[in-house]
Each structure stands twice: as C-alpha cells, then as structure tokens.
C-alpha cells in the first residue's frame, strides 16, 4: 500500500506530462484535463501514503528502477516512504493541484502570436516538475535523488523561460539555470566524495555509517559543505540566491510552485534528509546556520524596498526558506529537523496562497508593479481577505499556521542557544529581527495593495450578468487588454478562486497539527516567551506598516533614505558584485578563448582558400596549351624522378 502510493506520486504526474504532451497537442481541454488529473492523482496518492505512514513503520526500500551496475559499484535506484517524504509529498501534491487548476484559467486562451500561452507544454512541464520533486523526496539513494534534482532544474529552466519571446525571461531562465548549476555541481561532487569513502550512495546506509562513525571526518565535512552549495543554489540562499527574484519572469503560478513546494523546499529537504551526516560534522551545520542568518535578514531587508509585488514575494521566500534552513541547522538530535520541516509545510501553504492571490491581482491590474495596485479591499473584498490571510501567515500572526511554525523554529534556536551553541544565538537574534522586518514588508504589501489608492484605478465590480466570458491572457498582455476599455469585467473565474480557498484552509489551521503531532514533528513545540516575543515583533512591524496610510502614503518604504532604498531594492547589489567578480572575468576568458580560436586555430582554416586561389592562379599559367611545353614538363618530371631514384638507391 505504502509502496504503491509512493510510486504513484511519481508515476502519475509523469504519465500526465507525457499524455498531456502527446494527446494534448494543440487541443487545450485535453492537456488541461490530463495535468489536473495527474496532480490530483498525485495528491490523493500522497495523502494515502501519509495516512499509511502515520500508522505503520516507514518503508525504506521500494523497488523502482532496479539496480544500476556501475563498475565496482552497484547502486540501488530505490524509493523510500517515511513521514518526512509523505508529509512533503502532500504539500507538493496540494500545491501542484492548486497550481494546475489555477493555470487552466490563468493561461487560458491562445494568447497572441507574439506571446502565445503554449498551455499544453506549460502544463506538461509543471507535471514534470511535480514528478521530479516527488522523486527527490522519495529517493532512497543519492544518485536517484540527483536525477530528480537535475530534472527539477531542467523543468524550472523551462518554466521560468516560458515566455521565451521576452528577452528578460530568457535571461532569467539562463540565470536560474546557471546559478543553480553551480550548486548542483556541489551535490554531484558530494555524491562522488561519499561514494569514494562509503562505497555506497544509499541514504540509509550513509546515515548509518555517519552515526556509527565509520565515515571519516574530512569526508563528511567535504560532502556536507558541497551539499550545502547545492542547497544554497536550489533553495536560493546567500550567495546563490540571485536567480530567484529574476525568476519572477516566469508565469505567476510557476512562482507559486517553485516557491511553495518544489524547488526551494528541495534544499531544506536535502539537509533534513541527511541530517545524521550533518550532525556528525557540526562545522557544516554552523556554516548552514550562518548562511541562513545572512539570507534571512538580508532578504527581509531587500523585500521592504521592492516596488514589484512578485519580487517582494520572492525575497520573502528567500527569507522564509532561511528560517527553515536555520531550524534544521540548530538541531542537535536526529529528530531535530522537525521545526524546519514544520515551517516548510506551513510555508508551502501560505506562500502558494500568496503567489496565487498575487497572480489574481496582477491579472486584474495588468502589471506587477506595486505602484499600479491599490484599493483591492474595495473592489475585490474576498481576494483582499485571502491576500491578507496569506500575508498574516507570512508575518506569523497568531494563531495562523505560520505563527506556530516560525515560533517553533525560534524556540529550537533558543534551546540551542541555551545549550551553549553560538549558532543558536545567531539564529535566534536574526530570527527575531527578521520577524519585525517580515511584519513590516507584509504589512506594507497589504497596505499598498488592499488599502492604498491605485494610480491606475481598478475597474468597478458589477454587471455580472451582462459581461462576456472573460478572456485572460499572459500577464504581460493584460495591460494591453485593459487599455482596450473598462467594459471588460474583472470577475475572476472560479478555477482561479477555488484554489485560493483551498490553500487558505491550511494557512489558517496548520497549527492544529501540533495538538497531536506525528513522530516527525515530535520535537516541535513553542516556548511561551519566545512565541510571544516573536509575535509581538511581527505585530509591531505589521502595525507600523499598516499605519503608513494614515501618515499620508500607503508605502512605508518611502520613509527610507533614497540611497538606502535603492540599495535594498537591488538586493544589496549582490548581482553587481557577482557580475564584477565572476561574470565579467568569465566573459573575458570566453572572449580570449574565442579570439584565440578565431585568430590562431581558425586562421589556418581560413588561410586555405586564399592559398588555393593564389596557387591555382600560378598553376593556371602552366596550362599554356602548347604541346611542346607539356613535353618539356614531361621531360623535367622524368629527369627529376630519375635523379631521385638514383639518389635514393
């Protein structure tokens, strides 16, 4: 039962992807049906798996792809199903299902010749993305995990660059691919290092070997740090986080998928899965904690000054994923990953809700800029409330799920700090500070979008009976649509609203899990003092930001100095630094290689035609047409051959 459920979570989206591509073709309904059915199937299978796993012992070896015989190594490409994989699988399945349903409306229509929606390919890629994430979380072997990891990178590249007619989308996709590739290289090398020492890549055997001390300290430290590079790449942590804000070029539902459940969660999952390895080398965990602390505060600060809603949410993701990583990094025992995973799950709910709501808003406004938004509460009350729920979850307002999970992370950090770990102090203090910042930027977003007055007024809500069927386009096209006239009614289709309600439920009530926590979350608890402190800080930030409209402007960020604001908006100019330190030397090297190739190697090739032409012109003169001359050449040739023959003999 568990076995089949775990298998189905991977197989169903894959089948949906293939069928959607093969049978969908140009016909949209088929592609949409397959994609929704595939993700729904995966969700049901994941729920079944979770139910079973909660009752029974985890299954560590599910035959999947047999064994790969690689010379002296035999690698079992098996799956495993335990509470960690099952719970994340449920989150992935839920988010994927919501995204697929949402996308049928969001990417409906054929778009324009300049910006086609290419819905079948999009839906199939999302299904593939889901399947890859499912493979990652169910892998019982690092090699199989790496396969899913890379497939996820491919799918993210395709989805971020979905609007490939835009140069910025192509650049963002390329950046996402290259930056995560740097991290993926770390994962690959880590697998090699572990394979060289432990002679196995099975996660169960590796963790057993690590806890029993069979693996050398150097091996574990190297592998741990290399894996951290992959984690930083996939989970968008400093210094490899720069791809995530740019990845907002992709369609908004894709952002929901990437940020909520699939891509960025994979990194945290990897650390949680391999926690026994990390516990054997505290150094790697300390590095992880420091990375998380930097990402947490830095991204939250950058989020405050963003003037683009999606980029704001992207920076909030970096910050929140840093919470998860920190929660795992301060753990001291094998079950210490609980708070981090708890936050991962609750974050999956509220971040998906936020992005899908943001997609609705962007869809209505036709722009992603905060300056174009405002007054949502007046025009679309339900949407505004849902957006508020998501932001409250993000800020950690009690008693929402986000509150419990964030405070659980802070509690774990506090306990680590009291146990004498300096990383615990770092995480605790930055976490509390980030709570305040999170409150500020969450409140700012709500204040601008829901309360503020838009520069571009939203069309009134009404005349539902007389409106034409609403035709939606890709976000970039909405502005043109809106410009055509306000007679277009902005009533959102049910396919876009229903997933929001569905996601609001876990956002609101995820804390209820703590009443009877499963074994995975057994160590999760919230300390009263820490919880109250964190909540107070969040509420203070929220209140401050929400009070901004009363002071004259809905945007609290204008209180910042102009220079600081620009600095924050550019994400501390990490991009510029990386461009100067890495991109420019690489480009210079490439130019050098190119000129060497062109000037030296190609020169020989290019010299052939002129040489032949000159030589041909010279030889042409020998063709005099005079028989006597030919006879002379004949004699000369004979003499030369004779002399050569005599000389050589």
């Amino acid at each position: 039962m568990i076995e089949s459920a775990a298998l189905l979570t991977i197989v169903l989206p894959t089948v949906a992807a293939v069928l959607g591509l093969v049978m969908g073709g140009r016909s949209r309904p088929w592609a949409g049906d397959w994609a929704v059915l595939g993700s729904l199937g995966a969700l049901i299978a994941a729920v079944l798996e979770l139910v079973q796993v909660l009752r029974q012992a985890p299954v560590t070896s599910i035959g999947f792809l047999g064994r790969a015989e690689l010379g002296t190594f035999s690698i079992g490409l098996d799956l495993r199903a335990d509470q960690l994989s099952a719970s994340i699988a449920v989150a992935v399945g839920l988010v994927a299902f919501c995204v697929q349903v949402y996308s049928t409306a969001y990417l409906s229509g054929t778009g324009t010749p300049e910006a086609p929606t290419r819905y079948p390919a999009y839906a199939a890629t999302v299904s593939l993305f889901t399947a890859a994430m499912m493979l990652v979380i169910h892998s019982a072997d690092l090699v199989l995990l790496l396969i899913g990891w890379e497939a996820m990178g491919l799918a993210s590249y395709l989805l971020v660059g979905h609007h490939s007619e835009r140069a910025s989308a192509r650049a963002a996709a390329m950046k996402a691919f290259l930056v995560t590739r740097i991290g993926d290289l770390g994962v690959l090398l880590a697998v090699v290092v572990l394979l060289a020492d432990a002679r196995t890549t099975s996660i169960a055997q590796l963790t057993a070997a690590a806890t029993s001390g069979e693996l050398g300290h150097a091996t574990l430290l190297t592998a741990g740090l290399l894996l951290l590079a992959g984690v930083a790449g996939k989970s968008a942590q400093f210094p490899l986080h720069t791809w995530l804000p740019d990845a907002m070029e992709g369609p908004t539902p894709v952002s929901a998928l990437i940020h909520a459940a699939t891509m960025v969660a994979a990194g945290v999952f990897l650390v949680a899965r391999l926690l026994p390895l990390y516990l054997a080398v505290p150094g790697a965990l300390q590095v992880a904690a420091v990375i998380a602390a930097i990402s947490m505060v830095g991204a939250a600060l950058a989020a405050i000054a963003q003037d683009d809603l999606k980029r704001l949410l992207a920076y909030s993701t970096i910050s929140q994923v840093a919470y998860m990583l920190a929660g795992v990094a301060v753990s001291s025992g094998p079950d210490g990953s609980g708070p981090g995973i708890f936050h991962l799950l609750s974050h999956a709910a509220f971040k998906a809700l936020l992005f899908l709501t943001a997609g609705c808003v962007i869809h209505l406004v036709g722009s992603t800029m905060l300056a174009d938004m405002g007054g949502l509460l007046r025009t679309h009350r339900a949407l505004a409330v849902l957006f508020g729920i998501g932001l409250a979850g993000l800020a950690g307002v009690p008693p929402l799920g986000g509150f419990w999970s964030k405070e659980a992370v802070l509690t774990a950090a506090e306990e680590a700090a009291h146990a004498g770990s300096w990383t615990g102090w770092v995480v605790l203090l930055t976490g509390l500070g980030t709570s305040l910042l999170t409150g500020i930027y969450a409140g700012r977003a709500w204040s601008i979008v829901a309360l503020g007055s838009a520069a571009k007024a939203l069309p009134a809500h009404g005349d539902a009976e007389t409106e034409e069927p609403h035709e939606t386009l890709a976000p970039g096209q909405d502005a043109a649509l809106h410009a055509t006239g306000p007679e277009h009614q902005h009533r959102l289709p049910a396919a876009m609203m229903l997933p929001l309600y569905l996601l609001a439920v876990p956002t609101l009530g995820f804390g209820l899990v703590l009443i009877d926590p499963p074994e995975l979350l057994g160590a999760v608890h919230v300390d009263l003092v820490t919880g109250v402190t964190g909540a107070m800080l969040s509420l203070a930030g929220l209140g401050w930001a929400l009070s901004a409209p009363r002071l004259g402007a809905p945007d609290i960020a204008i209180a910042l100095p102009v220079g600081a604001r620009a600095m924050l908006r550019d994400g501390f100019r990490v991009d510029a630094v990386q461009h100067a330190l890495i991109v420019r030397p690489a480009l210079g090297l490439a130019r050098g290689v190119k000129s060497a190739d062109w000037g030296v190697i190609d020169a020989y090739v290019r010299a052939i035609p002129p040489t032949l032409r000159v030589g041909g012109n010279l030889l042409r003169r020998a063709q005099t047409g005079l028989a006597t001359a030919y006879a002379a050449w004949l004699v000369i040739g004979a003499v030369v051959i004779a002399i050569a023959g005599v000389g050589l003999s």
Partner: protein, 139 residues
C-alpha cells in the same frame, strides 16, 4: 670483347638529341621524330643490358679478370623488351600520325604553336577570346 660503356654513352646522346627534337620543333611530325629517337635510346640501353651476364652489373668481375661467358637469363628480357618497344612504337606512331592528319584536316596546319586553344592563359586563347568578344555578344 666489347666495352659496354660505348653503347651506354650512345644511348645517352640519342636521348639528348631526342629531347632537343621534342622541344625545339614546331612541326608535329618532326616532334614525333624526336620522340622516336628517345624510344630508340631506351631500346639501345635495353639491348646493351641484355649483353650483361646473369645478375647484371653486380655480377661483373673486377678489372682484369676474365669476363663471364655463361648467360643465365633464358628469357632474354632485354632483347624481347626491345622488340616489344619497337612494336609499341609502331602502334604509337600510327595513332599519332592519324591525330596529326586529323589536326591538319581541321586546321590546315601541323604547327603545334597554332593550336593552343586548350591553354588557360595562352596568348592564342586570350587573343581569340578578345577577337570573339565583340561579335559574340552576351549570348
């Protein structure tokens, strides 16, 4: 008793004369005469070599020793080759003269310097092309 160096030098002289005839003559038939002389030079050398004992020059004894008498080459390669060369020369001159007749019939001349049209940059070809350019037109 005969020194073989005499026929060898005669053959060389004939070859030189033949080359001169080949290169210095304009009349096609006379050029052929030069070619015949070259062929005869080769023939003379073949016949001379046929007079050598078995094993060729390597088997010659040193100066002063009695010259070998036995002939070990039952195939008589040198002489037979010479006969073959004569035959081939006959065939060659037949075909060559037929070509010259054809040339004469077409051009009313057997002068080789006047039939250089096949040359890429021959003065004749260039001159003829220049002469034909105005009348030929862009056909």
């Amino acid at each position: 008793m005969i020194h073989l160096i005499g026929p060898a030098v005669l053959a060389s002289a004939l070859a030189g004369i033949g080359v001169y005839g080949l290169l210095a003559r304009r009349n096609a038939v006379l050029v052929l005469i030069g070619a015949e002389l070259l062929l005869n030079a080769a023939n003379l050398l073949l016949v001379t070599a046929a007079a050598l004992p078995a094993g060729g020059l390597a088997a010659m004894p040193g100066p002063g020793a009695a010259p070998p008498t036995e002939i070990a080459d039952p195939l008589l390669s040198g002489q037979v080759m010479a006969i073959f060369v004569i035959t081939i020369a006959a065939a060659e001159i037949g075909v060559a003269l037929a070509i010259i007749l054809l040339l004469f019939r077409a051009r009313q001349t057997a002068d080789l310097t006047e039939v250089g049209e096949l040359g890429e940059a021959s003065p004749i070809g260039v001159a003829r092309a220049a002469a034909e350019q105005p009348s030929g037109g862009p056909s």
